[in-house]
Symmetry: C2
């Protein structure tokens, strides 16, 4: 406590060094846990740093060693996403952070503006070099962003599969499995005409969902009818629209699989307006993200999972592909299809008296 004490926010490591009468290099080594430093002096340095409130200037550090200790999560917040994403991202963020924080890595979210091309935005962010690695969400079927990142040699993982050539790490919800299990269940209940909702955007999840549905039908020997695949936004509005279109069909379905729980709300409303009751007159199965549709009557049969844990998995996948952390997270596979759990409800409770 010879000098000033904790006055101003501290100028830099140099000031800290001369306050301790130690060379700046030693201070740096002490702070960063390097071996070439006496434990005694290391303690002094740490104590002084704490007392004077010194924190390393990130710009200087990253300029020198080319690393920032920051991981970026790019989200698009496109019009449709804003309406639907709910707290999906905040929840997955929690899972990511629970892993990253163990390594003193900070997570920041990079929201691409609506009116900017995601590719250009990402390019800018990569060039800024404020993140060491990236997590890409809302992956599209073919997504140029992966090529960009691969070329820039910046580690990344994707939340969602894609058809990209680059063999990158990803984790994805098992919407193929959801579609299969849903169809199986409905067929077991006697249904043959099963409709499905497809998202209106070209997010890859939608393709996987519909593909799974299609193959499941095939497996059961049921003909695929394009009229039963309804493109709609993944919102209440979209669910309402799905119901509306299906009601207009002359040979309508007896069951429907919705890709998003919010749709169930609108769907319920529309069919009930028409006097049709889910679980009695039509079977409904959906994916459920957050406990939004919990209040629906009759209770919605849905698939769900812990989005938080998905974040944990994704974080570990990413770290395992970063050279600096890969030995701490050894992995055989860096591509995870995340399972979902069926929560039986009443909305598909009835069994169809099959004509056959």
């Amino acid at each position: 406590m010879a000098h000033g004490g904790k006055l101003r926010p501290m100028k830099g490591i140099r000031q800290l060094a001369e306050h301790l009468d130690i060379s700046i290099g030693t201070v740096s080594r002490a702070l960063n846990g390097k071996p070439d430093v006496n434990e005694e002096t290391r303690k002094r340095v740490l104590a002084a740093a704490e007392q004077l409130g010194y924190v390393a200037n990130q710009s200087g550090r990253s300029l020198r060693q080319g690393t920032t200790n920051v991981i970026g999560l790019m989200i698009q917040s496109s019009r449709e996403t804003v309406e639907n994403s709910d707290n999906f991202f905040l929840t997955v963020t929690g899972g990511l952070q629970s892993v990253f924080s163990r390594h003193k890595l900070d997570l920041i979210m990079l929201p691409c503006p609506h009116d900017e091309d995601p590719y250009e935005y990402l390019k800018r962010m990569v060039a800024r070099r404020i993140v060491d690695a990236l997590i890409i969400s809302e992956t599209q079927r073919v997504d140029k962003r992966f090529d960009l990142l691969a070329k820039a040699k910046i580690p990344f993982a994707a939340l969602g599969r894609s058809l990209s050539g680059t063999q990158h790490p990803w984790a994805d919800l098992d919407f193929d499995g959801v579609a299969n299990a849903a169809v199986d269940r409905l067929v077991a209940h006697g249904h043959r005409r099963i409709a499905v909702s497809a998202p209106s955007s070209d997010i890859n999840l939608g393709f996987i969902f519909v593909d799974g549905y299609r193959r499941a039908l095939e497996r059961h020997g049921i003909a695929y009818d394009p009229a039963l695949v309804i493109r709609a936004k993944s919102s209440e509005q979209g669910g309402y629209q799905v119901a509306d279109e299906l009601l207009g069909l002359e040979n309508g379905p007896t069951a429907v699989i919705l890709i998003y729980e919010l749709m169930a709300i609108g769907f319920y409303r529309r069919v009930m307006e028409a006097g049709i009751i889910p679980g009695r007159d039509i079977a409904v199965v959906s994916f459920r993200e957050a406990p939004r549709a919990k209040f629906l009557q009759p209770a919605l049969t849905c698939f769900r999972t812990s989005v938080h844990d998905l974040g944990v998995e994704l974080a570990e996948i990413l770290l395992s592909s970063m050279p600096a952390y890969s030995q701490e997270y050894p992995r055989k596979t860096r591509q995870t299809v995340w399972p979902l759990e069926l929560i039986p409800g009443e909305s598909d409770a009835f069994r169809l008296k099959t004509a056959k």
Copy 2:
């Protein structure tokens, strides 16, 4: 096109300079629009930069001039927030970006982990120096963060008022006005016993809401009854709980004001379970954030506003308080109470046959 063309991501401004046979200083000046450079050579530099895909290294830049061109939005994603916030933040982010992008400012979101003290988190982020300015959300009644930021002399604006001594810029939803208008409306309908929901966290918005409610009652000469103020989480669950507690009262209310639309969903469900129909047996008024509760029957009377525009306002407030931009955003006042609009529904349609 003398040299290599666009091979690797480019090493730095130095490479760009020698590719053009120009000094590195001139290149920097050309890129940054400084006056001391021939328009002719500026064009050459810009073209070469574009062609070679050069983008300034942010670390070097910010190390030198202490500025990053990045604005941070700190969100807490506390347990409760995650469940409720919906897309509030993504929507307000859109508004912020629409302003920031005009100045080549990028917005990043800084999500404070659940298990970390927001104050410590913020301190760390400030020390990292990756943002030029900050937007603080989920302000608490007394919020140490403002003192920290004021002391660190980093520009900031708050989304939400607080009682802090520092006279900082902020924008806040007019929940005082909402409470007042709601009470006025309900009293005009003949109600005297009006309940209100208060958030369980110590977010300042809740205090303002309840304070406004209280003063409005006073204005109408209605006694304030603490039993009618129900603390609950701002979720469906919370709404359910509010209804439950109110049903348990021997001298229950004839009307209720909910602070959050999601609560209305749970509230509807619980009272309807008890055979009580909103808009006929009890009046319900709520704040509405996103069109979630649109499907409620009877239609919910609620207050709403454009969260996007609130973001725009907040961005302008922040910029007006930053020296580098203040002349572009001259302002008399930097504290905005953001108005909300009443959307009449059916949930408070009936008039009470007043006993008096």
